[in-house]
Amino acid sequence: MENKYSKDYTTQELMVAAAAREINDGEVVFVGIGLPVLATLLAQRTHAPNLVMIYEAGVVGAKPARLALSIGDPTLFSGALMALDFHDVFAMFLQRGLCDVSFMSGAQIDKYGNINATVIGDYNKPKVRLPGSGGAYDLGTSKKMLIIARHEKRRFVEKVDFITTVGYLSGRDSRQKAGIKGGGPSAVITNLGILRFEKESKEMYLETYHPGVTVQQVKDNTSWNLKISPRIFETKPPTQEEVMLLRNELDPNGIFLK
């Protein structure tokens, strides 16, 4: 099949394809459930056949017979390459620096890519109590952190109420200076565009807008004055092959792609 761009795709499909393109062949990918799994599987089926998948529940090289519905789904363990203790996942893989890519989301994301998954409002008197870090903090120490999120004003805030997963802290070399390993956030893929971080200041900026989305629309859904790349362009749509794989093979029952 020729690798032509699709003309019939959903925003979710575009987001998954965009995330898949962030993964290089041979990389070790720490996978959760939902869109990140689909992005990883899509990368594996297209340009990254040698990627290695690791799940928090303690499994390397899973070969699931169905789409996992939770991160500890038994289907991830049957026929996998390696099962390991929970502590070892964090110590011997994440802390050891063996993970290249991880996926992240959060209720709040700020302009330095810090993520809040803990609490909205005051910690001791929360307006909304969220689930908390779990593994998220440590996933944030992989070489490339990919953030996937719905672009909303209340989510994209200037400063998060609580730093659960560290992005670039207060920007510049503050992350490195604090002694935090890993490369920090590499891309933010939303339903409106793809955002990256300036090389020096580490402030988030808009790199591409999705077909049919305007730059103003992105700015309107971000609660600080979002920087725009001088070389901004339109996000490349998914290819026909990518859409076909997602619809027919990776999520044929539309469990995550609704």
């Binding site: 991160i71 049957s78 964090f90 909304v128 779990g134 903090y137 390993k181």
Partner: protein
């Protein structure tokens, strides 16, 4: 090895080994959660318990809603793959049914506390937590300079729960326990705790254990009592025995949005049954058949006989 048979019932285990005010550990990650023990703690109306569990999911949500927990030491609290944990949120946001003290970590840092205890150390360093806001609200999280480099590390103290509840796939009557699939934090939790209570999907002869010593995660001499409790982890799963009951998680999530909904759930699935056997009967044969996986056997390995 103790030659005395340690088998008791779940009711006896909870009655004898859980004192009001105890710190309790529940083993597993997604896999092998000891739901049978949790339900029995609620049925016996234990009070003022502290729970140490990085991912307590519905287990703690039920315990909070039923007023069993005073304090929670945790890393992530949601209904996995479903959404919020409503009893937890009501307790933290609105003190319903009562205030809940929380002590919060990352998954890694809390497991590190158990790891330290399981290794007989008073603390362990970790790279987790550095730069996050967690340390601001938790005096048990400290930082130190590496004695050999210029790195700054996070340190957490060992934690020794009073009782560990562990569900395993198989154990012998003396508590020698074997697990496959996700091991979770079971090794750390069992070795960290002062008492260890094991339930097993199957009690097997010691000969089965001895055929494959590398699968043993808890040696019998560490175990106080053993319960045979098939389907002991429902609605979570036991690898090779039954699948995770996703519908049950979704149903719990929607029914417990209100206090009344939770009370009804509690009355139906916990107070409304006398023990695990009744609970399983209530689940019904159709459900059991649906959750039973097809067989996928490991290949045997040869240990060799060396006379």
């Amino acid at each position: 090895m103790r030659r005395d048979n340690k088998i008791v019932t779940t009711e006896e285990a909870i009655k004898k080994f859980v004192l009001n005010g105890d710190t309790v550990f529940l083993g597993g990650f997604a896999h092998l959660y000891p739901y049978a023990f949790v339900h029995e703690m609620i049925r016996q109306k234990k009070e003022n318990l502290t729970l140490c569990k990085h991912s307590p999911e519905l287990m703690a949500d039920m315990m909070i809603g039923a007023g069993v927990l005073r304090k929670l030491i945790f890393g992530w609290f949601g209904n996995p793959g479903v959404g919020s944990s409503h009893c937890f949120r009501r307790a933290v946001e609105k003190e319903i049914p009562q205030a809940l003290e929380i002590e919060e970590y990352t998954h890694f840092a809390l497991t590190t506390r158990l790891k330290a205890a399981s290794m007989g150390l008073p603390f362990l360093p970790t790279r987790s937590i550095i730069g996050s806001d967690l340390a601001k609200y938790n005096p048990n999280i400290k930082f130190m300079d590496c004695p050999f480099s210029d790195e700054k590390l996070c340190v957490v103290p060992a934690i020794h729960p009073d009782v560990a509840f562990i569900n395993v796939q198989r154990a012998d009557a003396f508590g020698n326990s074997q697990i496959w699939g996700a091991i979770g934090d079971i090794r750390e939790g069992a070795f960290a705790s002062k008492k260890v209570i094991v339930s097993a999907e199957e009690i097997v002869s010691t000969e089965v254990i001895r055929r494959d010593p590398n699968r043993t995660v808890i040696p019998g001499f560490l175990v106080d009592v053993v319960v045979e409790e098939p389907w002991g982890s429902h609605p979570s799963y036991a690898m090779g025995y039954y699948d995770r009951d996703n519908d049950f998680y979704i149903d719990y999530g929607s029914r417990t949005r209100t206090v009344e909904g939770f009370e009804e759930y509690l009355n139906e699935w916990i107070y409304g049954v006398d023990n695990r056997r009744e609970y399983i009967r209530k689940l019904g044969a159709e459900k059991l058949l649906k959750l039973k996986p097809k067989s996928f056997m490991s290949f045997a390995v040869d240990y060799g006989y060396y006379p």
